[in-house]
Symmetry: C2
Subunit: 329 residues, 2 copies
């Protein structure tokens, strides 16, 4: 077991307990089961661990961040449930998606109630009467991330079948869709930990950068990994015609002829074209480019941590930044 896996495992029981307590009162039973489903299918629990570590690393009482950490995981799960409906993805974490088992109406509700429970959970954070401001700041961070997740998903949907997306637009989309919640995780942890504004900003930026790297690495692994490590066929993003940094980069650098070729290959959604698309990516060095962008983000994220005093938690945040690029799935 890698050191990061151990770090993530360290807090998972606390997070699970908070989530269980939060959801236990949901009725009727069908809604309870639907909203609980994905928590029974694993998941790395990276985001809540980041909240707890950020709280700890800024010198806060890390137990005070458990509820907000769990809330971040509820919001992540809500967005997965709704995304799977929107994208018509029937499998999540190797199991049937919520809407596959309970139908779309119950899956919409399951997402909605996790969303509501997330806000309830943050509000249950016990703070003394002087620190209601912390609570309201943490809540604002969470609510803002929720707005961004919706906007990012809408942008992602608007990219479908369109290939005139700039790198800036692409990065904005993945920031909103993936980076914003990870940034909210670290930022809310720092707020609850009582950090200064400067440190809160650094922790937010750290979260944003590793969030972006995480998404770019996902796309990168889809073309350089193998089916066994990935748990799904190589090139599934290509077959799905998905916009990735490699597509954006190739379209930006290639002459018209190769651009047209790439677009037509992506539009065909044909597994036999994966090799041809990868060759085009390589012709314009886009795979290396994506990897370098991700690596650059991780390096910057680690530099931002220098603002913190040395601690076990800071070391863990360093390791997690590296882990984003080391993971094979």
């Amino acid at each position: 077991m890698s050191e990061v896996t151990e770090i993530l495992k360290k807090y998972s029981k606390n997070i699970d307990n908070e989530i269980e307590n939060s959801l236990s009162a949901i009725s009727p039973e069908e809604l309870y089961n639907a909203s609980n489903h994905l928590f029974n299918s694993g998941g790395k629990k990276l985001r809540p661990a980041l909240t707890i570590l950020a709280c700890d690393a800024v010198g806060g009482v890390f137990e005070q961040s458990f509820k907000t950490a769990a809330a971040i995981e509820l919001i992540h799960t809500f967005s997965l449930i709704h995304d799977d409906i929107m994208d018509q993805d029937d499998i999540r974490r190797g199991n049937p998606a919520v809407h596959t088992l309970w139908g779309e109406p119950m899956a919409i509700l399951a997402g909605d109630i996790l969303f509501s429970k997330a806000f309830e959970l943050v509000l249950e954070t016990s703070v003394d009467s002087n620190s209601y401001k912390k609570l309201s700041d943490a809540l604002a961070v969470v609510a803002d991330a929720c707005v961004k997740i919706c906007e990012g998903q809408a942008e992602d949907m608007s990219f479908e079948g369109k290939f005139d997306v700039t790198e800036e637009q692409y990065m904005d989309m993945i920031y909103k869709k993936t980076g914003a919640l990870i940034a909210a995780a670290t930022k809310s942890g720092a707020i609850i930990g009582g950090a200064s504004d400067e440190v809160i900003l650094a922790m937010e930026e750290y979260g944003k950068l590793i969030g972006l790297a995480f998404q770019i690495q996902d796309d990168y692994l889809d073309v350089i990994s193998d089916e066994e490590s990935l748990g799904k066929p190589v090139g599934s993003d290509i077959v799905g015609g998905k916009m990735t940094l490699m597509v954006v980069k190739t379209l930006a650098d290639a002459p018209d002829e190769d651009c047209e070729r790439l677009i037509s290959l992506l539009k065909e959604n044909n597994p036999n074209h994966v090799g041809d698309v990868i060759n085009l990516f390589n012709k314009y060095d886009s795979i290396n480019y994506a990897h370098n962008v991700a690596q650059g983000n991780v390096n910057k994220a680690k530099q931002l941590l220098e603002i913190l005093d040395d601690s076990e938690a800071k070391r863990a945040l360093m390791l997690i930044a590296d882990f984003v690029l080391e993971r094979q799935s």
Copy 2:
């Protein structure tokens, strides 16, 4: 124009402004348009007016409740958008539903972002540093109502095709689906207005009672009104096989034979059976029963207002309680 219509109109500009400001930054444009759609189709804005009036009636600075009032309307609208998807209702307020125009994925997101924006809006309520507790209490009320709305919708869905629903189960469902948000409207207004715990509780109960009366009256109007007043054919709930207090009451009081007859009529979803069903309702006095339950709730709600000092706002709350039963659509 009735006096209540004038009262509701009095604040509608403030509420509209808050909603416009809250939603103006949403991107991309498609998501902005989808989330704005229902605000362009009218709506009574009863809930936000109740928040403002409750704040005013308890002696608070009513302008401080504008953002929370608008947030309540955002949550109401979010739930309409998602309900229309779940119930496959293609028309809302005489216009195409959000999912009819933008498709289900964008409608899911439009609901989600209104939900997120609602929490942002409450958090923007300007409170002095001593009253963050008010803010967090108001937020907890809103989040709790959201949980209940989801549970109520799930219960409503679970009743479909089932006819062994007790009056208690039915009342619990409509409390969660309709009453909880109206109770949250009046309760959060009272909290922001700085009311005592006793007054806050009374205002919550007032909201709950008129919310229940509102829903029962909706079902009652569906059988006693006429098509012109309703804006839709009489008996559409009957044709839809919908569970109402009249159905619950008839099934509770009628012998097996008439119960079976009612169930089979409701299952046929046939407009020609509306008269037969209404005859069955009358045979067991269920229509009067429903009206009396609604009237009883309104009377209790008005009694609860006696805890307040006399004011224009208190008078408005009295009038609104009566309006719930006087309205024809």
